[in-house]
Symmetry: C2
Subunit: 544 residues, 2 copies
């Protein structure tokens, strides 16, 4: 049997456009004599539809699109994800479209409700396995989370009818390291069930998450026989042949070039996340505030890769604390990238605020308030240009500073999308090196990479005046945020107690700032946003 | 048996302080010869602890506090909520503290995972009823959601041992109209089970939610015999006497003055929510931008009621579009409230931005960008003062404008807490009237209430230039947001199709703005924030 896995990029809520894309995929599959076409989880409505599912008319509209797909796509069997309303419940379901009608339906049994997932908020769990018969071949259907509990799945499918293919349709958000885990877990099912395993994953950016594609087909020996591209739409076609000893898979798909390492993965995820957030929200143009520092330089490079140099404008807004070097570097970067560049000095505006504030008893223009004022004047300037020209402001705050609140709310955090919000400062450096390597030229000036980090909001300021060195900071943050370790555990692993306590307090105290930051792309196992839900009002304190 | 229901105000995460408050309550109860003391859901750690529950050390610390409470509070039986870690699961549990030890434990069976609730994210459901024996009286213990499904509860307790008291410990977030529903539902259990019902609810503000207290004791005839205060800490004491025909309750608690109507309720909820958010986050002082309009006037009144006139500063920031009338009204309001008042004109700063932007091709100082610029200069000014003086900025955006995005991000939305974020404009007017009635004087000048609403960001601007009249707008918003109705349903109920489509589009398009707005107090069945989770990237469109 010839099967195809179509990893495609739907838009949440765009029911008829998603259905149109599926029809187009169907046509291509039919041309290639495909007999079974598999599409990802919730392909009709996009993932995650969130509270759209509370709207009865949304669930109804998604059913109508499914029925119309069934009617139109008669020349093969299709397995496609949709949101199923039934008896006042909603299920995360996979429909088997066959012979012009919606045939059997499988309902996802395991509903993730951790991390970025809220599936128990909406869906009722299914409880019955389904093995569809496609041209005499048994296809056991599962949806995403169903395969993430191997012990449960083996038990669940124990009494199911015989099958030669285990299909899984997924919308599995990317984070670094996940692909290896996922592939290894799936591989085992091939031998456990003596079946081919077809894993079809979504592709695309949706708000804070990115789906990485990389669909896979294993033969029943657990060998990868076909694989989809990473971070791109793709259709993998293969022949699946049931033999006495097992299931053979003969790929008709070229082997894709996959990311070489974690930094490659992150870079591609950030480009796709930025491209899709901007395009799906109808932004053609972007503005990036260029400080001459490493964060904004990397963000500008990602913006160019995602949107094209002709659509990105770099804006530098020097104050009296901006050095000649950073001003030069901002301009040089813009030249290297071939983007529009504007210099809008802010000092006179800051001075005017300062003058106005002289009437206020207690105003001190050497305080942190004055530092933040400069950042807010810049934020206001960028947002004014954004409003005037309909261009989105891309924010350059990294995860390290977002964690400890080393940023000015409505200042450097102001904008529509926060590209490197989940990228630790130490990883930003690696991205900068990689960007220059890939370009085989110094896109980001070397001085940007070697200069000690500074916010330039007062004379001779260095990040290290306020924060531990980034290597240490990032180690503490990884343990505290991504692994939920206590201060005691972090100290026990060798991190200095003073810094651990100081950093944890900064993280906890700055929850209010993060709550008002723009969305940004998740690339780690735990990002700020839906992934990590902490109260602002929280008196729990670290102790050692 | 003498029982007490202690509705108290814990702080999330403040384990030892919460335990200290419980000890203090215990001492008072012992003085009054109380034999059974009932405290609310998750009293030890506060509600909701959210992702703090992912930290093993947090759950462990909360267990240690519980054990120390048990050891210290030997002179009566206590039922108290805590987060229970057990066999790699976490339960939302109620411990019976008796004879110096943690005795039986009841585990919440129904875990809400809708609206503001994420309990399935953390907790494993219990499955066994528990009837504790306290001095020979059977006390069936339930936790919050357990009593919100009457059919389920009757079945769940069907085979439980005999009980004379049904106890429910809750952390039930306030919204208008909920109290009546809740009381009616609880009342029925009294007669269904022929038992007294003791409902003990939390009090206090926690980020976006407010718990309203109003604990109740019903006798087995379904008559309210004792009731706690609304929006205040309180301890209700009563004798519960088991008789042949049922359970008698003799209150020793004075009947509290409860809110007279919905507007009273809302006003009290907003005061408590503001007081607790500011106090629990260590703000003594607040700043309110006073435009001379109704929203900021009402917010200033709430701030004064919550924090004291001596802790509130009103700041007016006129531009060339500010009328003499609104400037006068801002000043008059401040005088009436007895708060500090500052006038900081912004026109020269706006002009300076404008001058700087003249160098940008395409800049238009008659555009909406220029309107937003003014709001952002004000936001920057307020935040600068906030940083300088450690005072929180209270935001005055109402629910109607938050819904349709009739606000400037980082402008009038800038601040730490958004007091009337869930209050529709039409309700803001009712609050203004009520505030003046309660004060028996015109605190809010009549002209503020009668003037047609205007943002004063250009000449002769009126809200009605951009929006439907507020009566109509609020009707559409209630149907669309709180009831999830479709455009078709709204039109079918008699609302004009053009306005319905226009408003729905505005609501959908402005999700990105709401995502960056400060937290504010939930007072309706569906507030913006955790309560309503919609994707920013969303192409689902209304149709008629």
């Amino acid at each position: 049997m010839k099967i195809a896995l179509a990893q495609f990029n739907p838009v949440v809520g765009d029911l008829s456009a998603n259905a149109a894309k599926i029809r187009e995929i169907y046509s291509r599959a039919v041309e290639q004599q495909v007999e079974l076409l598999i599409l990802p989880e919730l392909a009709v409505c996009g993932y995650p539809p969130e509270d759209l599912l509370y709207k009865n008319h949304f669930v109804e509209d998604n059913r109508l699109e499914l029925e119309s797909l069934a009617a139109d796509c008669r020349d093969l069997t299709m397995i496609v994800g949709f949101a199923e309303g039934r008896d006042d419940m909603i299920y995360n379901s996979a429909a088997v479209l066959q012979d012009g009608a919606v045939g059997q339906i499988y309902r996802k049994a395991l509903l993730p409700n951790y991390g970025v997932f809220d599936e128990r908020r909406y869906f009722h769990p299914g409880s019955e396995p389904l093995v569809a018969n496609v041209k005499g071949i048994g296809v056991a259907i599962t949806i995403c989370e169903d395969i993430w509990s191997p012990v449960w799945l083996l038990d669940y499918l124990k009494n199911a009818p015989d099958f030669q293919i285990l299909a899984n349709i997924s919308a599995s958000p990317f984070h670094t390291g996940k692909f290896g885990l996922r592939a290894e877990m799936i591989r085992k099912y091939a031998t456990d069930f003596n079946a081919a395993v077809c894993y079809c994953n979504l592709v695309g950016g949706q708000d804070e998450i990115v789906f990485d594609g990389r669909s896979i087909i294993f033969d029943s020996k657990g060998k990868i026989q076909a694989q989809g591209k990473a971070f791109e739409q793709d259709m993998i076609i293969a022949d699946v042949l049931s033999e006495d000893s097992g299931v053979k898979v003969v790929s008709q798909h070229p082997t894709p070039t996959l990311p070489g390492d974690e930094i490659d993965e992150i870079y591609q995820a950030l480009i796709l996340g930025t491209r899709d957030y901007t395009a799906k929200n109808n932004f053609k143009k972007a503005l990036v505030g260029l400080s001459g520092g490493i964060d904004s330089s990397v963000v500008a490079c990602i913006a160019v890769a995602a949107m094209g140099a002709e659509n990105v404008t770099g804006i530098t807004m020097p104050s009296k604390f901006s050095s000649a070097d950073t001003k030069t570097d901002a301009r040089k970067l813009a030249e290297n990238l071939g983007i529009d560049f504007m210099e809008l000095p802010i000092q006179s505006i800051v001075d005017d605020f300062d003058g106005c504030l002289q009437s206020v008893a207690g105003w001190d223009n050497t305080s942190i308030a004055y530092e933040n004022l400069q950042a807010r004047v810049r934020g206001t300037m960028l947002m004014t240009l954004s409003n005037q020209f309909g261009a989105i402001v891309l924010v350059s705050s990294n995860k390290s500073e977002t964690a400890v609140g080393y940023s000015t709310l409505y200042g450097d955090t102001a904008g529509g999308f926060s590209v490197i919000k989940d990228v630790a400062k130490t990883v930003v450096y690696k991205l900068a090196d990689r960007i220059n390597q890939l370009a085989r030229t110094e896109i980001i000036p070397a001085s940007v990479i070697t200069r000690p980090p500074t916010a330039e909001l007062r004379d001779d300021q260095k990040d290290s005046d306020s924060l531990p060195e980034y290597e240490l900071l990032d180690a503490i943050l990884k343990g505290y945020i991504e692994q939920d370790k206590s201060a005691q555990e972090l100290v026990a692993q060798g991190l200095p107690a003073d810094d651990v306590l100081r950093v944890i307090k900064m993280v906890d105290m700055n929850e209010y700032k993060r709550r008002q930051c723009p969305p940004g792309i998740k690339i780690t196992a735990k990002a700020f946003g839906r992934d990590r839900r902490l109260p602002i009002t929280n008196h729990y304190r670290p102790k050692i």
